[in-house]
Symmetry: C2
Protein backbone atom coordinates (compact mmCIF):
# COMPACT_ATOMS: atom_id res chain seq x y z
CA UNK A 1 0.00 0.00 0.00
CA UNK A 2 2.99 2.27 -0.44
CA UNK A 3 1.90 5.65 -1.72
CA UNK A 4 2.36 9.36 -1.66
CA UNK A 5 0.42 12.13 0.07
CA UNK A 6 0.67 15.60 -1.44
CA UNK A 7 -0.63 18.68 0.36
CA UNK A 8 -0.95 22.28 -0.78
CA UNK A 9 -2.03 25.20 1.40
CA UNK A 10 -3.04 28.21 -0.70
CA UNK A 11 -3.08 31.85 0.35
CA UNK A 12 -4.28 35.08 -1.25
CA UNK A 13 -6.39 33.23 -3.79
CA UNK A 14 -7.70 35.44 -6.57
CA UNK A 15 -10.27 32.69 -7.11
CA UNK A 16 -11.62 33.77 -10.51
CA UNK A 17 -14.31 31.04 -10.51
CA UNK A 18 -15.60 31.77 -6.98
CA UNK A 19 -14.69 28.25 -5.88
CA UNK A 20 -14.08 29.33 -2.29
CA UNK A 21 -17.79 30.00 -1.80
CA UNK A 22 -19.50 27.98 -4.53
CA UNK A 23 -19.53 24.44 -3.18
CA UNK A 24 -21.36 22.97 -6.14
CA UNK A 25 -18.80 24.27 -8.61
CA UNK A 26 -15.99 23.16 -6.33
CA UNK A 27 -17.35 19.62 -6.09
CA UNK A 28 -17.87 19.38 -9.84
CA UNK A 29 -14.41 20.69 -10.55
CA UNK A 30 -12.78 18.24 -8.16
CA UNK A 31 -14.58 15.35 -9.76
CA UNK A 32 -13.82 16.53 -13.29
CA UNK A 33 -10.12 17.03 -12.58
CA UNK A 34 -9.80 13.72 -10.75
CA UNK A 35 -11.22 11.90 -13.74
CA UNK A 36 -9.07 13.87 -16.17
CA UNK A 37 -6.04 12.90 -14.10
CA UNK A 38 -6.92 9.23 -14.50
CA UNK A 39 -8.00 8.66 -10.90
CA UNK A 40 -11.19 6.78 -10.04
CA UNK A 41 -13.84 8.45 -7.88
CA UNK A 42 -15.92 5.94 -5.92
CA UNK A 43 -17.82 8.35 -3.62
CA UNK A 44 -17.96 12.01 -2.64
CA UNK A 45 -19.12 14.14 0.28
CA UNK A 46 -19.20 17.93 0.55
CA UNK A 47 -20.42 20.15 3.36
CA UNK A 48 -21.17 23.89 3.41
CA UNK A 49 -20.36 25.88 6.53
CA UNK A 50 -22.52 28.83 7.43
CA UNK A 51 -21.08 32.01 8.87
CA UNK A 52 -19.83 31.53 12.40
CA UNK A 53 -16.96 30.57 14.57
CA UNK A 54 -15.50 28.14 12.03
CA UNK A 55 -15.50 30.65 9.22
CA UNK A 56 -17.59 32.52 6.70
CA UNK A 57 -19.37 30.22 4.30
CA UNK A 58 -16.50 27.92 3.52
CA UNK A 59 -16.76 24.38 2.18
CA UNK A 60 -15.15 21.12 3.08
CA UNK A 61 -15.24 18.14 0.81
CA UNK A 62 -13.77 14.80 0.00
CA UNK A 63 -13.62 12.51 -2.98
CA UNK A 64 -13.06 8.91 -2.06
CA UNK A 65 -10.84 7.44 -4.75
CA UNK A 66 -10.10 3.83 -5.60
CA UNK A 67 -6.52 5.05 -5.09
CA UNK A 68 -7.23 6.79 -1.70
CA UNK A 69 -8.65 10.33 -1.40
CA UNK A 70 -8.79 14.02 -2.26
CA UNK A 71 -9.74 16.51 0.47
CA UNK A 72 -10.39 20.24 0.17
CA UNK A 73 -11.21 22.88 2.76
CA UNK A 74 -11.93 26.47 1.74
CA UNK A 75 -11.67 29.61 3.89
CA UNK A 76 -13.34 32.44 1.94
CA UNK A 77 -12.73 35.03 4.65
CA UNK A 78 -9.00 34.29 4.45
CA UNK A 79 -8.98 33.70 0.66
CA UNK A 80 -7.30 30.41 1.53
CA UNK A 81 -7.62 26.70 0.73
CA UNK A 82 -6.07 23.47 1.93
CA UNK A 83 -5.76 20.57 -0.48
CA UNK A 84 -4.77 16.93 0.07
CA UNK A 85 -4.25 14.26 -2.56
CA UNK A 86 -3.29 10.87 -1.21
CA UNK A 87 -2.79 7.91 -3.56
CA UNK A 88 -1.57 4.39 -2.95
CA UNK A 89 0.29 2.58 -5.66
CA UNK A 90 -1.08 -0.94 -5.62
CA UNK A 91 -1.70 -1.93 -9.21
CA UNK A 92 0.34 0.89 -10.73
CA UNK A 93 2.26 4.02 -9.78
CA UNK A 94 -0.31 6.80 -9.34
CA UNK A 95 2.17 9.47 -8.28
CA UNK A 96 2.06 11.39 -11.57
CA UNK A 97 -1.75 11.31 -11.60
CA UNK A 98 -1.89 12.68 -8.06
CA UNK A 99 0.58 15.42 -8.91
CA UNK A 100 -1.38 16.33 -12.02
CA UNK A 101 -4.63 16.53 -10.06
CA UNK A 102 -3.10 18.72 -7.37
CA UNK A 103 -1.42 21.00 -9.91
CA UNK A 104 -4.66 21.43 -11.83
CA UNK A 105 -6.61 22.29 -8.68
CA UNK A 106 -3.97 24.69 -7.42
CA UNK A 107 -4.00 26.51 -10.75
CA UNK A 108 -7.76 27.09 -10.62
CA UNK A 109 -7.56 29.01 -7.33
CA UNK A 110 -4.85 31.34 -8.70
CA UNK A 111 -3.14 31.77 -5.33
CA UNK A 112 -0.35 34.27 -4.70
CA UNK A 113 1.34 31.90 -2.24
CA UNK A 114 1.33 28.10 -2.15
CA UNK A 115 2.89 25.94 0.54
CA UNK A 116 3.41 22.40 -0.73
CA UNK A 117 4.45 19.42 1.34
CA UNK A 118 4.50 15.69 0.80
CA UNK A 119 4.73 12.47 2.76
CA UNK A 120 5.65 8.97 1.72
CA UNK A 121 2.81 6.80 3.02
CA UNK A 122 2.34 3.12 3.64
CA UNK A 123 5.87 2.21 4.62
CA UNK A 124 6.59 0.40 7.90
CA UNK A 125 8.65 2.24 10.50
Amino acid sequence: MRGVHFTADLFDCRDPDNLLRDGRSLASLCEELASLSGLNVVARQFHAFGPGVQGDGGHTGVLLLAESHLAVHTWPELRAVTLDVFVCNVASDNTAKAQALLDALVARFDAARVNRQQLVRGLPP
Copy 2:
Protein backbone atom coordinates in the same frame (compact mmCIF):
# COMPACT_ATOMS: atom_id res chain seq x y z
CA MET B 1 -6.33 28.31 9.45
CA ARG B 2 -3.10 27.08 10.97
CA GLY B 3 -3.43 23.46 12.02
CA VAL B 4 -1.83 20.09 12.30
CA HIS B 5 -2.12 16.95 10.20
CA PHE B 6 -1.31 13.65 11.88
CA THR B 7 -0.91 10.42 9.93
CA ALA B 8 -0.45 6.84 11.09
CA ASP B 9 0.22 3.86 8.83
CA LEU B 10 -0.42 0.58 10.66
CA PHE B 11 1.02 -2.83 9.84
CA ASP B 12 0.45 -6.36 11.12
CA CYS B 13 -2.86 -5.40 12.72
CA ARG B 14 -4.25 -8.07 15.05
CA ASP B 15 -7.58 -6.27 14.57
CA PRO B 16 -9.55 -7.91 17.40
CA ASP B 17 -12.80 -6.16 16.36
CA ASN B 18 -12.56 -7.08 12.65
CA LEU B 19 -12.49 -3.39 11.72
CA LEU B 20 -10.43 -4.02 8.59
CA ARG B 21 -13.38 -5.80 6.96
CA ASP B 22 -16.43 -4.55 8.87
CA GLY B 23 -17.12 -1.14 7.39
CA ARG B 24 -20.18 -0.48 9.50
CA SER B 25 -18.30 -1.04 12.74
CA LEU B 26 -15.39 1.01 11.44
CA ALA B 27 -17.63 3.97 10.58
CA SER B 28 -19.40 3.80 13.93
CA LEU B 29 -16.14 3.62 15.80
CA CYS B 30 -14.66 6.59 13.95
CA GLU B 31 -17.70 8.68 14.72
CA GLU B 32 -17.81 7.60 18.36
CA LEU B 33 -14.13 8.32 18.93
CA ALA B 34 -14.28 11.65 17.12
CA SER B 35 -17.10 12.77 19.40
CA LEU B 36 -15.36 11.43 22.49
CA SER B 37 -12.29 13.42 21.49
CA GLY B 38 -14.35 16.60 21.38
CA LEU B 39 -14.31 17.01 17.59
CA ASN B 40 -17.46 17.84 15.64
CA VAL B 41 -18.60 15.54 12.82
CA VAL B 42 -20.60 17.38 10.15
CA ALA B 43 -20.78 14.63 7.49
CA ARG B 44 -19.45 11.16 6.72
CA GLN B 45 -18.86 8.94 3.71
CA PHE B 46 -17.65 5.34 3.63
CA HIS B 47 -17.12 3.01 0.70
CA ALA B 48 -16.59 -0.76 0.61
CA PHE B 49 -14.24 -2.21 -1.97
CA GLY B 50 -14.96 -5.64 -3.37
CA PRO B 51 -12.21 -8.15 -4.08
CA GLY B 52 -10.08 -7.10 -7.02
CA VAL B 53 -7.07 -5.22 -8.17
CA GLN B 54 -7.38 -2.59 -5.44
CA GLY B 55 -7.53 -5.10 -2.64
CA ASP B 56 -9.64 -7.65 -0.87
CA GLY B 57 -12.72 -6.14 0.69
CA GLY B 58 -11.14 -3.10 2.25
CA HIS B 59 -12.91 0.08 3.23
CA THR B 60 -12.20 3.72 2.72
CA GLY B 61 -13.96 6.39 4.70
CA VAL B 62 -13.96 9.98 5.76
CA LEU B 63 -15.52 12.03 8.49
CA LEU B 64 -15.86 15.68 7.62
CA LEU B 65 -15.21 17.61 10.80
CA ALA B 66 -15.96 21.21 11.65
CA GLU B 67 -12.23 21.20 12.42
CA SER B 68 -11.20 19.53 9.06
CA HIS B 69 -11.27 15.73 8.51
CA LEU B 70 -10.51 12.15 9.47
CA ALA B 71 -9.67 9.64 6.73
CA VAL B 72 -9.19 5.89 7.00
CA HIS B 73 -8.25 3.26 4.42
CA THR B 74 -8.10 -0.43 5.34
CA TRP B 75 -6.19 -3.18 3.58
CA PRO B 76 -7.42 -6.50 4.99
CA GLU B 77 -5.17 -8.61 2.78
CA LEU B 78 -2.16 -6.76 4.16
CA ARG B 79 -3.56 -6.41 7.69
CA ALA B 80 -2.80 -2.72 7.26
CA VAL B 81 -4.52 0.65 7.73
CA THR B 82 -3.75 4.26 6.91
CA LEU B 83 -5.18 6.99 9.15
CA ASP B 84 -5.24 10.78 8.76
CA VAL B 85 -6.49 13.32 11.26
CA PHE B 86 -6.24 16.92 10.11
CA VAL B 87 -7.51 19.74 12.33
CA CYS B 88 -7.32 23.48 11.97
CA ASN B 89 -7.11 25.65 15.04
CA VAL B 90 -9.42 28.57 14.36
CA ALA B 91 -11.47 29.11 17.49
CA SER B 92 -9.28 26.98 19.74
CA ASP B 93 -6.26 24.67 19.65
CA ASN B 94 -7.54 21.26 18.55
CA THR B 95 -4.15 19.57 18.50
CA ALA B 96 -4.72 17.54 21.65
CA LYS B 97 -8.14 16.41 20.44
CA ALA B 98 -6.68 15.26 17.13
CA GLN B 99 -3.91 13.40 18.88
CA ALA B 100 -6.39 11.75 21.23
CA LEU B 101 -8.56 10.64 18.32
CA LEU B 102 -5.64 9.20 16.40
CA ASP B 103 -4.26 7.42 19.47
CA ALA B 104 -7.65 5.89 20.25
CA LEU B 105 -8.08 4.63 16.69
CA VAL B 106 -4.56 3.25 16.47
CA ALA B 107 -5.11 1.34 19.72
CA ARG B 108 -8.23 -0.37 18.39
CA PHE B 109 -6.38 -1.95 15.47
CA ASP B 110 -3.69 -3.40 17.77
CA ALA B 111 -0.92 -3.09 15.18
CA ALA B 112 2.56 -4.55 15.61
CA ARG B 113 4.13 -1.65 13.73
CA VAL B 114 2.95 1.96 13.44
CA ASN B 115 4.57 4.64 11.30
CA ARG B 116 3.49 8.10 12.47
CA GLN B 117 4.17 11.37 10.72
CA GLN B 118 2.86 14.89 11.03
CA LEU B 119 2.70 18.12 9.08
CA VAL B 120 2.08 21.67 10.17
CA ARG B 121 -0.70 22.91 7.90
CA GLY B 122 -2.08 26.28 6.98
CA LEU B 123 1.10 28.31 7.13
CA PRO B 124 2.25 30.42 4.18
CA PRO B 125 5.52 29.46 2.51
